[in-house]
Amino acid sequence: MSACAHRDDAGSYVLRALPDEDHERFEAHLATCEGCRREVADLQMAADTLPLAAVQVGPPPELRDRIMAVVRSEAELLSAAGERAGEPDADPAPAARTPRPRRRGLRWPVLSLRPLAAALAAGVLVAAGVVGGVVLSGGGDTSTVTGTVQIASAPDARASLQLSDDATKLEVRKMPPPPSGKVYQVWLKRPNRDPAPTTALFRVDANGSADVEIQRGRLKGVDQVLVTAEPDGGSMAPTSDPVIVASTA
């Protein structure tokens, strides 16, 4: 039993009744207080039974259909992305010829289903005709490629690729959210091939920012990284013009 001054917070904590800032403070406290950890573990068991008190009401079948449509679409996309990732690169390194192991776990970017309030009106995503300069910078193991954002209504939007041996990442800033019901999807373009889908689907936060890991390790044989706006769950082939183009070759 905890004799700690924070003991009474344990009940509020497991019920999620602490305001956000207090919640974080108490979590930090838990890391150092054995008594409160025990208290939380005990009370959590009681809190976990509370959902059973709700009258049981079945969800509508349409909800199941909607969820499964997204899940099947993403499973198909994941499968395709995994197969494409195994395709030989234009200039494969010896290690790249070895079939890659199946991915150990899904690493979907966290997506919100609710479109952000300021959804773009349809048709806003048009090529701005900006000639993109590619800037390669950085030394050692990491380099940065500046991409071109082709959204006429967002002249301040920025995109860059971070390339290193550990991972290839896309950073966007001041990007508008994708149109309602859509999500941004990253594509990898190899010479003389159609863009290959990736599982990197993302939305942006309220500041228009997102940091997206495209894949572990460096890109191989890819000359362009593209981003398009696609229906929730992503697509197997682009359904709209790219809103970001970053040339890596």
Binding site: R7, D8, D9, A10, G11, S12, V14, L15, R16, A17, L18, P19, E39, D42, L43, Q44, M45, A46, A47, D48, T49, L50, P51, L52, A53, A54, V55, Q56, V57, G58, P59, P60, L63, R64, R66, I67, M68, V70, V71, R72, E74, A75, L78, S79, R102, R103, R104, G105, L106, R107, W108, V110, L111, S112, L113, R114
Partner: protein
């Protein structure tokens, strides 16, 4: 593979590898409990549907985060739903129209085709409701306002015109009593 024969924990291993069929079975097993919790909390079917959709897609995309040593899949799913519903409530600040009316609702438990499972669920629900009913009214009230209403302890203190410290104490004492009364069930759930 007969997915329906697999335990939740085994299904989650497949979900983690992107198996949509395994996910479908997890959904079928827990969607009624998830929807019921979301509906009780948000009070509207549309919001409850949004919450359940967000929660299950989050589960699909982050299956790797499930850790069987920290509880059952059911508890994990309901925890996600609870958090999402609270987020929705606090975003919308719609605290007055959320009360779901239980009147006219035909209670439905999962697995109607399996009467043993359905009977067990009914027994569990009865036990929890009875245990809540035996708590002192002021303890039951703060627990319900916090857990199902999504209110913070300071909001509850203001609503009940009671010091925050008293509200916190009632929450803890009420949960301790609940834990004592439900004993085995609480351990099974967690």
């Amino acid at each position: 593979m007969a997915f329906a024969q697999l335990a939740d924990e085994d299904l989650m291993q497949l979900v983690r590898r992107g198996d949509a069929q395994a996910f479908e079975v997890v959904y079928d097993r827990h969607s009624t409990a998830a929807f019921s919790l979301a509906y009780r909390m948000t009070g509207t079917r549309n919001t409850a549907e949004d919450v359940v959709q967000e929660a299950f897609l989050s589960l699909w995309r982050s299956g790797a985060r499930y850790d069987r040593t920290r509880g059952s899949v059911r508890t994990w799913v309901l925890g996600i739903v609870h958090n999402r519903a609270i987020d929705a409530l606090r975003r919308s600040m719609v605290h007055d129209r959320r009360r779901a009316s239980d009147e006219g609702i035909e209670e439905r438990f999962e697995a109607r085709e399996r009467t043993d499972v359905e009977a067990a669920r009914r027994d569990e629900a009865r036990d929890v409701r009875q245990a809540l009913g035996t708590l002192p009214a002021e303890q039951c009230k703060v627990i319900e306002l916090a857990y199902f209403g999504g209110f913070t302890h300071s909001e509850i203190a203001s609503m009940l015109d009671t010091p925050i410290g008293t509200v916190k104490g009632r929450m803890r004492l009420g949960l301790e009593k609940l834990r004592g009364q439900l004993g085995g069930l609480a351990e099974v759930m967690s």
